[in-house]
């Protein structure tokens, strides 16, 4: 009886292992990419994480969670384009959890990346390049990206950009947008009902525009910030706790409680804070 029990147990373990392997699998794919090449990733569910790689290649580590989807990863013969895509197998209709694939992708510098997800979080860290990120509800996080061009489009996806320099454009409907030490020649954030928070000095002599419909805008500046700042809320309110010098020439008539404008230090960067009916607050760090 004991031998029979052991045999049954071993059989169960073997079957369970086989099932787990069939249900989820991890694989690694290495693809050559030319300098200035582009990487396109499409993965609706799961996660996508990008980090710097060491060689002139894209290394894709993909972990699936069911046998109803597969990962296609290939590159063009000239290495200028790499495509990584999750798709359902023929005649399969996987659920969200079954479609989930977790990607960990290493890319070299100087590569442009396009990532499209529905619910999968996108995380990019310490990578420079061009990034075009589109997410329905999955959070988008970009950290430590120097000389980057970052474009983010979200429906209800929270967006967090931290220590990013370059050009930034964020369009968010209901998701919040949090910018910390984000600076460059052009930074534009537009949200509908999502709140926008900015911590930093608006450095670089660039143009910064933060705009919402009903979302609040909160900006915290250090005293060293050199800005030409304008804040206007058509139907909402504005508050200012940051010392600004009155501008010699105004392009609009400031209305108490609805708008104000002024400069700090040499007024290098242009900062426009606009809201239709949200509250705008400018605070000193």
């Amino acid at each position: 009886m004991k031998k029979l029990d052991a045999a049954v147990l071993a059989g169960l373990i073997l079957v369970g292992s086989a099932l787990s392997l069939a249900a989820g699998a991890a694989r690694q794919i290495k693809l050559a990419i030319a300098p200035g090449g582009s990487v396109n990733v499409v993965n609706n569910c799961g996660s996508v994480t990008l980090h710097p790689g060491n060689q002139r290649q894209v290394v894709v580590n993909a972990a699936t969670h069911s046998d109803k989807v597969e990962v296609d990863a290939n590159s063009t013969p000239d290495g200028k384009r790499v495509d990584v895509r999750t798709h359902a197998l023929p005649q399969q209709k996987p659920s969200s959890s079954e479609s989930s694939v977790d990607y960990d992708i290493a890319i070299p510098s100087g590569v442009s990346v396009t990532i499209t997800t529905a619910t999968a979080p996108i995380t990019i860290e310490s990578v420079g390049g061009d990034f075009s990120l589109s997410s329905g509800t999955g959070p988008v996080t970009v950290k430590n990206a120097a000389n980057a061009r970052v474009e983010v489009r979200g429906v209800a996806a929270p967006v967090v950009l931290s220590n990013v320099t370059g050009q930034v454009e964020v369009t968010s409907s209901n998701g919040s947008v949090q910018l910390t030490n984000v600076s460059g020649s052009r930074v534009r954030v537009a949200a509908t009902s999502g709140n926008i928070t900015y911590h930093g000095d608006f450095s670089g002599g660039g143009s910064y525009v933060l705009s919402t419909h009903t979302g609040a805008i909160e900006v915290t500046l250090p005293p060293s910030a050199s800005v030409d700042l304008t804040a206007r809320s058509l139907k909402g309110s504005v508050e200012n706790d940051f010392p600004l010098q009155a501008k010699s020439h105004m392009t609009f008539d400031p209305a108490a409680g609805r708008s104000f404008a002024g400069t700090s230090n040499s007024g290098s960067s242009s900062v426009e804070l606009e809201s239709f009916s949200g509250r705008i607050r400018v605070k000193k760090q």
């Binding site: 489009r153 369009t171 409907s173 705009s211 239709f276």
Partner: protein
């Protein structure tokens, strides 16, 4: 009397005139008056074309003889005009082919006029026309949003819900901004908000379409 009641008796009016009520409506309603004039003109023109000069009696004789040789008709005595007369007491009147065509054309024209006639006098409408559907841009936009969300729901209900909420927010943004621009067309801030609102809606549609096409 209204136009609907008048049209119901229109053939009778064309043929033999109308009663005082009908005449009064005819005089007061421009549309019905024009219709009656058009129909009477058609009827008059058709009548002018109907009378045909009968062919020479020798023609009828030859036709009669040919038909009799074939056994298709019995040999009968000829009428005074050279037409065949049968002994049947109930002789049906026959039309010439051209007369048939013209009569059919007149009937068709009358039918088309009656079918396509629509009174433009609001007092006589009496809800004849069906209600006109609301084709305003706002209604069309809401319909598009609904279609988009319905399509997304087939893929993922949660994602569709997020899109629906965002589309409602953006539509509200467009509405608010449009009102602000209408209130002050020179307000550049309002104009910029309106542009931003439309751009955000465009982004939502682009993202949703890309998701549906995956």
């Amino acid at each position: 009397m209204n136009c609907k009641q008048f049209q119901e008796v229109l053939p009778h009016i064309i043929e033999s005139g109308g009663n005082p009520d009908q005449e009064a409506h005819l005089q007061s309603c421009r549309e019905c008056g024009e219709l009656v004039r058009d129909l009477r003109y058609i009827a008059d023109q058709a009548r002018l074309l109907l009378p045909m000069h009968d062919p020479n009696p020798r023609v009828w004789n030859n036709i009669q003889k040919s038909l009799a040789r074939e056994g298709l008709v019995p040999e009968d005595r000829m009428s005074r005009q050279g037409h065949t007369m049968t002994n049947s007491p109930a002789q049906k009147k026959s039309w010439t082919p051209l007369g048939l065509i013209l009569a059919a054309t007149a009937v068709l024209a009358l039918s088309l006029l009656l079918v396509n006639y629509r009174s433009t006098n609001p007092a006589n409408q009496e809800n004849l026309a069906p209600p006109v559907p609301d084709n305003s841009p706002a209604t069309a936009a809401n319909a598009d949003d609904h279609v988009l969300v319905s399509q997304l729901a087939q893929q993922d209900a949660d994602v569709a819900g997020a899109y629906q909420a965002s589309l409602e927010e953006v539509s509200s943004y467009i509405s608010d901004a449009q009102k602000a621009v209408n209130d002050d067309p020179d307000d550049s801030a309002a104009q910029e908000h309106l542009r931003d609102a439309y751009q955000q809606k465009a982004v939502l549609y682009q993202m949703a379409t890309a998701l549906l096409l995956e």
